[in-house]
Subunit: 113 residues, 2 copies
DNA sequence: TCCATATTCAACCTTCAGGTTGACCAACGG
DNA sequence: CCGTTGGTCAACCTGAAGGTTGAATATGGA
């Protein structure tokens, strides 16, 4: 299930989740350790991690009874590249971008079916 | 008030709003014209435009009775910079963009299951 | 075997996002 | 003036997001 831009951007829209990503930038972490600095229940953090994983922004691997969380920057890369299309700040493949544009316009309010 | 990453990412999380941004990439547009391709009430589009404006992603200028919407790509820069922090990867990678394109075109209506 | 640890599940609550509709206001063209 | 067009406002509905709590499900260690 490849994550969509919808889920990626939605995942990034929450400050708690962005903070988690920042933490994971340093190193892989167990769920409990991720939750530690937050004033929030473990269950809530677990949900946040689930959302990040669903967006493809992290991966989770269970070793023993500990679930390790690992940053997966690839999903970010795609979103980043999408954004670059709007800036004149970086060179971009206009032809490819325009194909993408056309596709977006064909199905504007994608019913997420 | 400078828009936060929260509002920018939240604004980008909606496919209708991303489609609107794509449209504005081509040219400035009036609200009614923006709404035209969407199967959605004008009021709804007006709200979407308000959200995009609040996020700083577009600006709106009223001339006569027509309100013109203009893309403001600078707002994306901050978010883009934030995201770059997660890549040890280079600023823009066309390979990545093309992979993204291929995926997007392969399965346009992501089930988001 | 028994208890503690790690994590999720299920049910629930509250807030907000995204949509509708209909009334409303402003500006233009006779 | 007057009707039409462009756009917003206000009230409302529905569903989902983000949080809580408490029970449930491994796994590890003694």
């Amino acid at each position: 299930m490849r994550p969509s831009l919808d889920t990626v951007f939605a995942a990034l829209a929450d400050p708690t989740r962005r903070a988690i990503l920042s933490m994971l930038l340093e190193d892989d972490m167990a769920v409990t350790d991720v939750a530690d600095p937050f004033d929030m229940s473990l269950a809530a953090i677990s949900k946040h991690l689930g959302i990040l994983a669903a967006a493809g922004l992290i991966s989770q691997e269970k070793r023993g009874r500990v679930k390790w969380c690992k940053l997966e920057p690839d999903a970010l890369r795609e979103a980043s590249v999408w954004m670059q299309g709007f800036g004149q700040f970086e060179p971009v493949h206009l032809d490819a971008f325009e194909r993408f544009l056309a596709q977006e316009l064909d199905a504007p309010a994608d019913p997420a079916a």
